[in-house]
Symmetry: C2
Subunit: 448 residues, 2 copies
């Protein structure tokens, strides 16, 4: 089969039917599209941009494979001349974007494509697909990072992430947002993300006794002994760990941690902590998992659960309390003229835009202004050139650099957003120059 991740046909059919129309009319002037989120989902006070790296790689490699072209030719919807044109289609445009890890808000473009109309159009579906998902997950993951700032946080979500790519890219997005690593082995191989792993209940169940399972696991992974203790009876298992520890110590093996995965985690963690401490295992950490998210993390820590690290899975990798963003990739200019959509509830701001951010004296974010590109405002310009004529201007930022940038962004959030509050909303203003441009476009539309 065709390569799923790079296929230009992982797109909506209407991109191709529109391209046939553009082709017939010779409409290949420069178009400007911007990707933005129309409004923040419920329970989100801010978002974190992510997915740019994969988006740029997609654009740099855009082409249609021979077998894909064959399908287009034989499906009966497109002209032969148009198919010949598609065979040579590449992305030759420019991209401006906010760096990954940047905090952003509603109506602020995080990516702008400037390219011949057919190219900018064709890539819409996959660009949205890539930017939407990682932004969704980074924004969700950042909330756990803020809720449990000093804890070890590991992505455990692969199994219930929505498919293979979601599993892989959720590991990336959560890591850049501040997680310490992922259980996902391929994320280690592809992105160098630290991978973490313990044992499953099946390992315990497959053995005739829990003690034996613990001992066998410790011998197999002497540098990484994390024992899952809730298969049958959590506190009984903790006592088995205490009994096992001296024997392992004689073999030079130290138990690193135990993992809790069910029941009331506060109660179990307290009891287990006491059992471990009384068994002279003060250095053994408690790690927990099981239906966790920023709300349960915050609650566990507020209630004083002696837990040192968390595996956060399904709720994060599906962004369960807000599983999608109301995002769009909209035409803002074509052939030198700004454009605007007027659909009810979905009107857009026209033209090439820039976002300026001002800061308080203490470094906290104070407010943003969205304006047209050439209307210089005070503050930091967040949107920067990243691709020119289809090629990157700079080498890809390393994931560690992005992660560092994201950490700095979270540190500069206004206090209410850092505390996961949504009120008062962060101030984002539309500059007079952008409002004037919108009115000018409206006047043109009325005359047409």
């Amino acid at each position: 089969m065709t390569n799923l991740q790079s296929s230009a046909l992982l797109t909506d059919l209407y991109q191709l039917t529109m391209l046939q129309g553009y082709f017939d009319q010779g409409m290949d002037d420069t178009a400007v599209f911007e990707f933005f989120v129309r409004r923040l989902p419920p329970k989100r006070g801010f978002l974190m941009a992510a997915g740019l790296e994969q988006a740029l790689t997609f654009l740099e490699n855009l082409h249609i494979e021979p077998e894909e072209l064959e399908w287009i030719k034989t499906c009966g919807r497109f002209s032969r001349e148009f198919c010949d044109y598609l065979a040579d289609l590449r992305f030759t445009g420019d991209v401006h974007a906010m760096p990954e890890g940047t905090v952003f808000f509603a109506d602020e473009p995080i990516l702008r494509v400037t390219a011949p109309l057919p190219q900018a159009q064709l890539v819409e579906s996959r660009l949205i697909n890539l930017l939407h998902f990682q932004t969704l997950i980074a924004s969700k993951a950042a909330r756990s990072v803020l809720a449990a700032p000093d804890k070890l946080l590991v992505d455990f979500g692969l199994r219930r992430a929505h498919g293979a790519e979601a599993g892989l890219l959720a590991a990336r997005a959560s890591y850049l947002a501040g997680f310490n690593g992922s259980s996902n082995v391929l994320a280690g191989l592809e992105f160098g993300i630290p991978v973490y792993g313990t044992m499953a209940h099946s390992f315990v169940q497959a053995h005739d006794s829990e003690e034996l399972a613990f001992e066998h696991f410790a011998r197999a992974q002497p540098d990484n002994v994390i024992l899952l203790i809730d298969t049958y009876d959590t506190e009984a298992a903790a006592r088995k760990v205490v009994a096992l520890a001296p024997r392992l110590k004689q073999q030079g093996i130290a138990i690193k941690a135990v993992r809790l995965d069910s029941g009331d985690l506060v109660t179990h963690a307290r009891k287990v902590r006491t059992i471990l401490d009384e068994g002279d295992l003060q250095t053994v950490r408690i790690f927990s998992s099981g239906n966790l998210d920023e709300y349960t993390l915050g609650d566990l820590l507020k209630r004083g659960a002696p837990i040192d690290g968390f595996g956060v899975g399904t709720h994060m990798d599906t962004s369960a309390d807000a599983p999608y963003l109301d995002c769009a990739y909209k035409l803002e200019e074509y052939a030198g003229r700004p454009r605007r959509k007027h659909s009810e509830g979905k009107a857009t701001w026209p033209g090439r835009k820039q976002v300026y951010r001002r800061y308080e004296a203490n470094g906290n974010m104070a407010g943003d202004i969205i304006t047209v590109e050439d209307d210089r405002q005070e503050g930091e310009a967040l949107i920067r050139p990243v691709l020119r004529q289809g090629r990157r201007l700079n080498p890809a930022a390393s994931l560690e650099e992005i992660r560092q940038h994201a950490a700095e962004e979270l540190a500069r959030l206004p206090a209410n957003l850092r505390n996961l509050g949504e009120e008062p909303p962060y101030p984002v203003t539309i500059a007079p120059a952008l409002e004037e441009l919108a009115r000018a476009v409206d006047r043109t539309l009325l005359q047409s």
Copy 2:
């Protein structure tokens, strides 16, 4: 990079650390794992099994690539002998499963793996990932099919699906559940799913006038003229369609439909229907999209909106009101002995199981019994052998056959479930033989 979809390392690290333990202890007796959903999510009265085809392909092709093996060797966690063993690892086990498109309920296994313990363990993460997602989406899509049984339903969800594979497999899962097709071109190429496409707002915006955009599109896609009419003013655009139709007719082009994508769809559809009818365009259909799901579909139809087809996107492809299933893949037997997990709130039924379904005289589903495999009950046995010693017993079912089976399943749902009600819940009983087995396992655990 490695092939994302078939990679054996798209797994949780703990599978590998456990495998090292199994390897060290020579634990490679036969294990039985089953995949099931612990409880139905809120707002779901039934689920529909999907994803088996991709799961079987994954198992048939299971192997570790040289570059992946290199990563395992150099990560410092595994012995050299174990790495040599991994190099030759293939899936040689058996699989039993419910056919795709089968309706099922909580605690009913839809897939059983019987294989040497390490093999059955290693595949856990990806098997769950594949079965969970398509089952999630087929179950969601079936609800739109039931809510709008006589309407054209098209999957529009690619852009906000969670990544590439989710976009592709959501098209498959919704099609098998009864959708008519997808906007996703790759779904056409990979699965032969009918693809549908219209135009985007950008096509209208890129033109100097809406009339011109409509005319250019009609000429470019003369057999598929569906015009998007909400970019500026919906009713005004409908009148432009009426004005354009005679001119197109002279060129032998018929307008097929118009699409509404915003505003109150009942009001707009009524007004547009009137404008079209008065303009002698009774045959032009109205298609609509924009934040639709089974609830809005039901509401639109109840309120008498004259809409002939729907593009259902984000809410379906993310299963937005229930974005994950509480599913698991659990060890039920090892080395001939049934096994059971006792974790609080997550205890499992041990042993190899079968589900029998009884029917009313009218053909409707009457109730299910879950029991041990060799305890023959009245009714239809839903779980069947599909893979033996790593090879399929039968050629893959065609997607059309699966879709037909799914349609028959939906037709046999009890009336309340067919009407998307959740109460009373469908009766699922645990047979005495299974309860007795669970007690026997508990007695063994107490003695150990």
